[in-house]
């Protein structure tokens, strides 16, 4: 997948968000060297510490981190719910931080949608009115916004509930309303701040499946925040792992699992059963000269877990091809065995 070839939808450079008295001036004086010692000396706390990220069109970037890692702060900087202390953010090429109040309102009415961890539905409005809310904000006529809202309700499978109030819905249903509301304006950019964290584990899995289904239809550019590494692995095109305000590693799930960049990242990847994440394409080898390939081949995006038994059952190495049918590599039994039963971690 060559996503890097196109221009990023969101491009942020050297984002700092520092809390504390006169954070901005003090940080300006630091001359770019803002480390823990500097923060301590000045009584400051860096929630986001020199983060640079790009999000490409149609990509789902999952920002993952534990409490205090800065992920919620980062997404609020990107949507400008809070002001960054320094750095630049470009949305579709335009400077977000230079926008006026009016321009921001326009941006939010047309281009951005956000889903919140605790649903944040307006309790005095019905499901329909909640979903239609952003459309109302931008002055859409009643027939139009009602029609659009009903379509959204259908999209998230809440038919028949449009006149209910949030308090009459379960957590999962409320979050679906939140999702529908954020999609009502058909945003280009979709922010989700730990949308499933407040739900039970079983519902969470259902919502993740639902979410993947939506994304396969809508193909939005997404920034998704979570503290759950497994969720990140399941959903992400790329993951950015945050720790103490910094991005430890930002790469595809396969790459992170195979090549954890720091010890902190290793803590997460150690417990991941690699065969559930890795694809044939990620671990395949070059064709060896004396290879006599088996009759059947596998796709490069097949998960090892699904094809392991098949490969191990073959006497000969298996060809790996891409979606167009071209040969891209070979899978040998010993390679698969090493993945399944690593000698040491």
């Amino acid at each position: 997948m060559t996503i890097e070839a196109t221009r990023p939808v969101i491009h942020c450079k050297n984002i700092f968000k520092i809390f504390g008295h006169s954070a901005q001036e003090i940080q300006g004086k630091s001359g770019g060297k803002v480390d823990q010692e500097f923060l301590d000396n000045n009584g400051l706390v860096a929630a986001v510490n020199d983060v640079s990220l790009e999000v490409y069109p149609g990509e789902m970037l999952v920002v993952m981190g534990l409490s205090g890692s800065g992920k919620s702060t980062l997404v609020r900087c990107l949507s400008r719910l809070i002001e960054t202390t320094s750095g630049s953010i470009n949305i579709e090429g335009e400077d977000l931080l230079a926008m006026s109040e009016k321009e921001l309102i326009e941006l939010r009415r047309n281009k951005m949608g956000m889903v919140f961890q605790n649903f944040a539905l307006l309790p005095h409005k019905t499901v329909l009115e909640n979903i239609a809310f952003p459309l109302q904000m931008r002055g859409m006529k009643k027939e139009d916004y009602v029609a659009r809202a009903l379509k959204m309700i259908e999209l998230v499978s809440l038919d028949g509930r449009e006149n209910d109030f949030p308090r009459q819905l379960s957590g999962g249903q409320q979050q679906r309303v939140g999702i529908a509301r954020s999609l009502a304006i058909e945003p280009d950019i979709w922010f989700l701040d730990e949308p499933f964290s407040a739900l039970d584990p079983l519902i969470r899995k259902e919502m993740q499946d639902e979410f993947l289904r939506l994304q396969s239809i809508l193909k939005k550019t997404i920034v998704f925040i979570t503290h759950d590494f497994d969720e990140a692995l399941r959903l992400a095109d790329r993951i950015a792992i945050m720790f103490h305000g910094r991005v430890e590693q930002c790469s595809t799930p396969q790459d992170i699992v195979l090549n954890p960049a720091t010890d902190y990242v290793k803590k997460f990847t150690n417990d991941v059963p690699r065969e559930k994440v890795l694809t044939a394409g990620a671990i395949m080898d070059e064709e060896r000269p004396d290879d006599k390939p088996a009759a059947i081949s596998v796709n490069q995006s097949d998960i090892i877990e699904d094809i392991a038994e098949f490969i191990l059952g073959q006497e000969r190495p298996v060809v790996v091809h891409d979606d167009d049918g071209n040969r891209v590599g070979m899978l040998h039994r010993d390679t698969v065995l090493k993945i399944l039963f690593p000698g040491d971690k």
Partner: protein, 675 residues
């Protein structure tokens, strides 16, 4: 079935229902205009010509049921035949002696003690030290400064009299309140019985408390105290009950598992856990006691209130202002002291040496002893000799009365035309037409309106309740005066809403501004309602308009404060959600903040209305022809049955409004899922 009795009209149908109600009301009014309404439905008939007691143009009294005679006869029966009077006389005597003890300590005295009175420097020292110990320099200066003010401005004697009354009423109220609260907590039946009583107690105007107390205890110092105690106990009961109910069940379980007996559980777990609410209760008791002690001046209770009343009646406005300041300072000081005590963090000092642990107590004892000794040699330290007209030299007190009177004169002279024009405009163009329309309406029209509103908001139960209340008023013969009171209250409340709510909204736009306003609201609410008469009399003299203005100034505070609180308590997550939906500031206010804040704002309007009813009676002192004025007359004639009937008329009107608004607010809260 129960639901249909209690349920009001469904919210979506309300608009139409209200429209229908107003149409019916208008129809009846048209009939009235065409003189087609039967006599009995206009004003209920008198049961005898003899009962037409006063004729003042408006406010003729034709009673259908002689409630006042019924009450008077029951009072006599209770007093004499049931021998209540022996009990009450004993209680009066006991109270009188306790009050005397405090009077002796603070003011020195004749009976029994033979002590020198406490020197003013000693009292000041106590105030300074306690203030500092509780919170620090600022509180110390406030408390000490207040005491010094009393001494320097010649208010010593009267302030100490007020303090004596407070020293008796406050602890008594607290203890009784806590006991009743515990009883209500333990026995559900008791709670169910006492809650309606507490509700009525809150809506009864301050004044109405005086009447039954006079019935049983006669007029005198102790009556003021008893009325104060009765007035101050309900908030303590309510807050004790609330605090105990709020104790997390898990805490109680852990207490039981630690082997607590029931008594230990109560005193070691539940009451300490309820500390916050109970401290709030103590604060409220103190403030209510001060407010009531001031009003008790009307029945002769000595102290600052009496002094203020005296000076007002002889129109010595400059001196009245000084006394007013004294009361205000006392109110703020007591409020801040009790809040500081409530908020004080409890340090664990058991391991510290004696002189550190009790350092403030030691300093206190030493300073007070020194003060007594010094006062012995310098009498001026005991009591500052007062400068009076007859003794203008060799004295230490100052008086700014002349200054204030000059200012008042200047204002009156320079703004005379403006003030007069304003007064004429408001009275002639707004008040009189409003009053006339209230009086024009036949009884049946008002009954239909009130019962209808009750039905819309609370179903058959509310409709019935409010109807009964108003039928009582109609039967008592005081309908006209009640309508006059009602129009004044309605006008005042409307003004409070129109000015107060936008003000609150404006204040809530910036957090700093909101905080500033809330502090002001807190401070203003500590003042006894009586005080508000002062500035109004100064500017507008004694008439109808002043009464209403005093009511407005007093009652606007809850409207502002509850609006601010309601708006700033909207959860930040909802703010984020509407920001991301692209709300402008205006949309945010109307789509999020106001709908979410509405239940709380409704409670504020409710309080405003209750305050207005309360104040209207006091403002009658300035001379209006309404229920309040009739109450004063009844008191002075010692016709207590009449006084009680009148008090009930006011109370019932207030209760009706309170009932409806509370219902409405509760329903909105449920709708918003805030419960």
């Amino acid at each position: 079935m129960r639901e249909t009795i209690l349920q009001g009209v469904r919210p979506d149908n309300r608009f139409r229902a209200s429209f229908i109600l107003l149409a019916i009301f208008a129809l009846i009014m048209v009939f009235q205009g065409l003189e087609m309404v039967p006599e009995t439905l206009d004003r209920l008939p008198a049961h005898s010509e003899a009962s037409a007691i006063d004729n003042t143009g408006y406010g003729e009294h034709y009673e259908t049921v002689a409630f006042d005679e019924i009450f008077n006869r029951s009072f006599d029966y209770l007093r004499e035949d049931l021998g209540f009077s022996t009990v009450t006389r004993a209680v009066s005597k006991a109270l009188k002696s306790v009050i005397n003890v405090f009077n002796n300590i603070l003011l020195g005295g004749r009976k029994g003690f033979g002590f020198d009175p406490m020197p003013w420097v000693a009292v000041a020292a106590i105030a300074f030290i306690v203030g500092f110990a509780l919170k620090g320099w600022k509180l110390s200066l406030l408390a000490g400064g207040t005491v010094v003010y009393f001494a320097v401005f010649g208010q010593w004697k009267v302030s100490m009299q007020t303090l004596s009354l407070l020293f008796v009423s406050v602890p008594t109220s607290i203890i009784i309140g806590i006991l009743l609260g515990i009883m209500a907590y333990k026995k559900k039946a008791f709670e169910n019985a006492i809650l309606p009583v507490l509700n009525v107690a809150q809506t009864l105007p301050h004044f109405a408390y005086l009447i039954p107390v006079i019935v049983f205890f006669g007029v005198g110092h102790q009556t003021g105290v008893i009325a104060t105690i009765i007035f101050a106990v309900p908030p303590m009961v309510r807050l004790t009950l609330l605090g105990l109910q709020k104790v997390p069940p898990k805490l109680i379980e852990s207490g039981k598992m630690s082997g607590c007996t029931r008594l230990q559980l109560l005193f070691r777990v539940q009451i300490p856990s309820a500390r916050n609410e109970m401290m709030l209760g103590v604060n409220q008791v103190i403030m209510q006691c001060l407010a009531m002690v001031v009003i008790a001046a009307f029945i002769g209770a000595p102290g600052l209130g009496y002094q203020l009343l005296l000076k007002l009646q002889i129109l010595k406005l400059g001196q009245s202002v000084e006394i007013g300041f004294a009361i205000v300072l006392l109110a703020i000081t007591l409020d801040r002291l009790s809040m500081a005590w409530a908020e004080k963090k409890r340090d664990y000092t058991a391991n510290l040496p004696f002189h550190v642990r009790y350092k403030y107590q030691i300093i206190l004892v030493v300073t007070v002893t020194l003060a007594y000794i010094a006062a012995h040699y310098f009498p001026a330290l005991e009591k500052l000799p007062k400068c009076t007209v007859t003794k203008p030299t060799d004295c230490f007190t100052i008086s700014t009365a002349a200054f204030w009177e000059d200012i008042i004169d200047w204002v009156v002279i320079n703004w005379y035309d403006g003030l007069l024009a304003f007064r004429s405009f408001v009275v002639i163009d707004m008040l009189v037409p409003l009053r006339d329309s209230f009086l024009f309406a036949p009884t049946i029209a008002v009954l239909v309106l009130i019962a209808g509103a009750g039905f819309i908001l609370g179903g058959w139960y509310s409709a019935l309740l409010t109807s009964i209340f108003f039928i009582f008023i109609a039967l008592s013969g005081w309908w006209d005066r009640a309508m006059i009171t009602a129009y004044m209250v309605m006008f005042a409340v409307l003004v409070c809403i129109v000015i107060g709510i936008p003000l609150g909204i404006w204040a809530s736009r910036k957090p700093g501004r909101a905080r500033y306003f809330l502090i002001w609201c807190d401070t203003l609410q500590t003042f006894p309602s009586f005080i508000y008469l002062l500035p109004v009399i100064m500017l507008f003299q004694v008439n109808d308009l002043s009464a209403i203005l005093a009511v407005i100034v007093y009652a606007i505070v809850p409207a502002v404060r509850y609006t601010i609180e309601g708006i700033i308590n909207v959860p930040p997550s909802l703010h984020e959600a509407v920001t991301m939906a692209g709300c402008s500031n205006r949309q945010r206010l109307f789509q999020l903040e106001l709908p979410m804040a509405m239940p709380h704002i409704l409670l504020g309007i409710n309080q405003t209305t209750m305050f207005a009813f309360s104040m209207v009676v006091i403002a009658a002192f300035i001379g209006t022809i309404d229920l309040g004025q009739a109450i004063f007359k009844a008191l002075s004639e010692s016709d207590l049955g009449k006084g009680l009937t009148l008090g009930l008329c006011i109370s019932f009107m207030a209760l009706s409004i309170d009932h409806m608004i509370t219902r409405w607010a509760r329903e909105r809260r449920k709708l918003l899922g805030l419960d």
